[in-house]
């Protein structure tokens, strides 16, 4: 570089030098020619004015010329003007004009005479030639000389100048330039070292970094020119498309990206309109084509940049297969969750903390009879039974502050038709990331069925208890019957045996009196059994107490209600006002009434509408001393034969009946000093009525 700089400056200097020489040559030539013309003019002048002799003319001319010359400033330091005359084979220098400091004296006196054979420019001039030459003069100094002949006087004029003088500035300039160049180069080098190297390294670093970024970028980055030809192709792009960058670069990007992908059209066309469509940062989904022929879902961001004259497009591509898959999976999961939510067998409802319903699933909508949109438009108080509202609000509020994450509440919802639906509501709160409550989730389970089941279970257990009670009564009755039957049977058999013995036409055998004794024993045994039974009943009397009719009936109905509801039978209470209290064993009397009600319910179970399934439970005074309680049903009724045997033990019209209920009931009423009777209902069905004495103390 330094060499180039030096040679360049050298060359420039050389050219300038040559130009200077040329100019100097012209100047010298002109100077010489002027001198010639001057001489000629002076000679002519002399000739005209003096008409002197040729010799004198010449001498005058030279003299004049020398005079002129003395006025002539000459040129440069070494510029010399020399006039010489040929004298045979010798050169006779007449004068030499020079400036001070010259080595040659201005006038040559005596004139210097040199042989013509010298290699001087004067030689050429004296030979009649004109021109210029660079040569050594008589001093052996290289000069630039212009020579002209003055043919009339056989003179030659030479204007010369030392080459050294001409060269001198150039040499100096050359040295200066070289030095300056050297200095500059050194300075430049230094500066380059000082500034350039870090800059370059930084640039290099930047470029490396850029390349590294490009290559390590997770996204495929492709640059194309305006025609869509690929200029660069990073590693990620290689990975996405399966092409190496070498394979890809130079191809059209349509090779990689579905041409039908509308957003990409802009990349292929050079039209302004399309590129406007592809504003930078515009993310679109396109479909890419892998080398192996698979389609790849891609997300593309196109940006445009101007590089000199070309417009480049940078496409940042992201393989969104996984994202798509995970989106699909997410969608699938969400769909699953939605389906779970939607198809949950229990009602699920999501509310804001203010109670606004955000979502409600199918089960909940169905439960309340609304469509989801209807339900979302509802205020929560309008679908909850007013009595339960406060309870729910309290629990919900409690939930926000208490550490527990859910609550359960039995509340009734109001469905579209206005009916109450008993439900179990389980409320919980969904918190956001910071643990702040965000939403309520309520699970609502219809308890109608559950309640019905519970009722059934309760009813069954009641029934079971009832049956157990009855069957224990039955058992007792059976064992009493058996116990009485045994002696009776023995008595009958003994008697029969005696009779047979007596009937035989023989004297009465000895066994007969013995057997009669046995008969007596057995009869007493039977009497004992009956006595025991009486004692048993007498023991039961101890639990009698005063009892209000209303309370009695209320208790009874609460027991019988379950059974009645199950069979969809309505029990009407028909109580006279101001009923007196009665003195009874309330458990036993309840048993009697329940037994009668149950019989009535059973008899109506098979009855079909239009007859209303109604039982009337009437209580009224009968005279001053007793009240009458009647159970009136509209059931199947009884045949007259059945009616006759109704109160016999073991008589029953029910397939699973024991036939003890009425018989025990009658004995209980009897024991209370009342009467249990049956009459048929003229409207169809049965009427069982019994009387109970009024408590004399009231």
């Amino acid at each position: 570089m330094m060499a180039i700089a030096i040679s360049a400056s050298g060359l420039a200097i050389t050219m300038l030098y040559h130009t200077a020489i040329k100019q100097q040559t012209i100047r010298l030539t002109e100077s010489a020619q002027r001198q010639v013309r001057l001489l000629k003019a002076m000679s002519l002048n002399a000739r005209f004015s003096a008409k002197s002799s040729p010799g004198k003319t010449f001498a005058d001319s030279v003299l004049h010329d020398r005079g002129a010359h003395e006025l002539f400033k000459g040129f440069g330091n070494t510029g010399v003007f020399v006039l010489a005359k040929r004298d045979g084979n010798q050169i006779h220098f007449i004068f030499s004009q020079t400036l001070p400091n010259t080595r040659v004296p201005a006038s040559l006196d005596p004139p210097l005479i040199v042989p013509l054979a010298g290699p001087l420019p004067m030689h050429q001039a004296l030979k009649g030639n004109s021109g210029s030459i660079i040569t050594f003069d008589y001093r052996g100094v290289m000069v630039l000389a212009a020579f002209e002949p003055v043919a009339e006087f056989n003179l030659g004029i030479v204007a010369k100048m030392d080459m050294a003088e001409i060269r001198k500035p150039f040499l100096r300039a050359g040295i200066l330039v070289t030095l300056a160049t050297l200095l500059l180069v050194l300075l430049g080098t230094f500066l380059v070292r000082l500034i350039g190297t870090p800059l370059v390294s930084r640039l290099e670093e930047n470029e490396q970094r850029l390349t590294a970024i490009l290559d390590t970028a997770a996204d495929g980055i492709i640059t194309t020119d305006e025609h869509g030809l690929i200029r660069s192709f990073n590693q990620a792009a290689e990975h996405i498309f399966g092409y190496s960058s070498v394979e890809a670069i130079g191809n059209n990007i349509t090779m990689l990206i579905m041409p039908i992908a509308e957003p990409y059209i802009g990349l292929q066309s050079s039209g302004e309109d399309h590129s406007n469509n592809l504003s930078s940062g515009n993310e679109r989904e396109v479909t890419g084509l892998h080398k192996d022929g698979c389609w790849i879902p891609l997300e593309i961001t196109v940006s445009e940049m101007q590089e000199k004259n070309a417009r480049l497009k940078t496409c940042i591509l992201r393989d969104i297969t996984e994202r798509k898959q995970s989106l699909a999976a997410l969608y699938h999961r969400e769909e699953e969750l939605r389906l779970i939510f939607e198809n949950a067998p229990v009602g699920v409802c999501i509310c804001t903390l203010n109670g606004d319903i955000l979502r409600a699933n199918h089960a909940f909508c169905t439960l309340l009879g609304y469509t989801e949109s209807e339900l979302l438009a509802k205020d929560y108080p309008s679908i909850i039974h007013s009595g339960d509202l406060r309870k729910l609000q309290m629990s919900s509020r409690q939930l926000l502050v208490s550490p527990s994450d859910s609550f359960s509440l039995e509340i009734s919802f109001v469905e579209k038709q206005g009916l109450n639906i008993p439900c179990m509501l389980r409320g919980s709160v969904i918190n956001d990331k910071n643990g702040a409550p965000q939403l309520y989730v309520a699970h609502i389970e219809d308890r109608s069925e559950q309640l019905k089941t519970e009722q059934l279970v309760r009813e069954h257990s009641e029934r079971l208890a009832h049956v157990t009670r009855l069957s224990s009564m039955g058992e007792m009755a059976t064992s009493i019957a058996h116990e009485i039957n045994q002696p009776l049977s023995a008595i009958a058999t003994y008697a029969a045996a005696c009779q047979r013995l007596i009937d035989q036409d023989q004297p009465v055998p000895n066994e007969v009196p013995l057997t009669l004794e046995k008969i007596r024993t057995q009869a007493l045994r039977a009497g004992d059994v009956i006595d025991r039974l009486r004692k048993f009943i007498r023991n039961r009397k101890s639990s009698r107490q005063q009892q209000g009719c209303y309370d009695l009936i209320t208790d009874v109905i609460s027991f019988a209600e379950v059974d009645a509801q199950y069979h969809q039978v309505i029990i009407h209470k028909e109580l006279e006002p101001d009923l007196p209290s009665i003195y009874i064993d309330s458990v036993q009397i309840q048993q009697v009434i329940i037994n009668l009600l149950r019989n009535a319910i059973d008899s109506m179970a098979k009855v079909l509408p239009p007859i209303n399934k109604e039982i009337r439970l009437q209580v009224k005074r009968q005279g001053d001393k007793s009240i009458e309680i009647a159970v009136i049903d509209r059931g199947a009724g009884l045949s007259s034969e059945s009616a006759d045997q109704l109160f016999n033990p073991f008589f029953t019209t029910k397939p699973l009946g024991l036939g003890m209920g009425l018989s025990i009931s009658r004995s209980i009423i009897d024991a209370h000093g009342g009467q249990l009777q049956y009459t048929s209902n003229p409207e169809g069905g049965c009427i069982f009525l019994f009387t109970l004495p009024i408590d004399p103390r009231t």
Partner: protein
């Protein structure tokens, strides 16, 4: 011929019942035995004896129905009349299904019970008579020679002497002699009696019933 008279076996936990029934049996002259429970009966019952069992259903220990089942398992073929203190239809049905003769509810009418026992005894005796007769026929058949048996079976099929002779390849005269021997050995006074005996034999063969009263 069997000489043992049928017997009434009374099983009841109530002493008065046992005693009164035994008295009743005595009054009509039925042989009887009393047992105070089922186990007692099983322990003392003589398999050789026969007659009728009067059985109470409700008893401590083994109940009447259980005893019935046990007897079936033990192949004790004794007709059972149940007597119960209380009417229980299901029990009665079960007892009857298992082959009880009758089901009486206490207090029972003595005549009805006695009649029923009488019927059972009669049936038992008939059966025994039959068995004895069968055994006699079998015994008589044992005395026949092979040739006589052949001729007997042909005779009862109604084959004439001539044909029998032709079939067996013997003379008609020989057939006649054999035939007379068969009639004599089988104590048959007529062809009809012989045919009847053959039916009995046929029955016995089919039933393969062992006759245990061969004394």
């Amino acid at each position: 011929m069997q000489n043992i008279t049928p017997r009434v076996f009374i099983v009841d936990d109530d002493e008065a019942i046992r005693d009164s029934i035994s008295m009743l049996m005595k009054s009509v002259g039925f042989e009887h035995e009393t047992f105070h429970n089922a186990q007692n009966f099983l322990d003392n019952y003589d398999v050789e004896s026969f007659g009728c069992l009067l059985l109470d259903i409700r008893m401590p220990g083994i109940s009447g129905l259980e005893l019935q089942t046990k007897m079936k398992e033990m192949s004790l073929d004794l007709p059972i009349i149940f007597i119960t203190g209380h009417g229980d239809v299901t029990m009665a049905v079960e007892a009857m299904k298992k082959g009880a003769v009758d089901f009486f509810q206490k207090p029972f009418r003595d005549q009805e019970l006695l009649d029923r026992i009488g019927q059972v005894f009669e049936r038992t005796q008939c059966k025994q008579q039959e068995q004895v007769e069968h055994q006699q026929v079998l015994n008589r058949q044992e005395t026949l020679t092979t040739r006589e048996r052949e001729i007997m079976s042909l005779v009862v099929e109604g084959t004439g002497n001539k044909l029998i002779a032709a079939e067996l390849g013997i003379s008609q005269r020989t057939v006649e002699i054999h035939r007379a021997n068969v009639m004599q050995k089988m104590h048959a006074h007529s062809l009809a009696q012989l045919v009847k005996m053959c039916f009995i034999l046929e029955d016995c063969k089919q039933c393969q019933r062992p006759f245990n009263c061969t004394d």
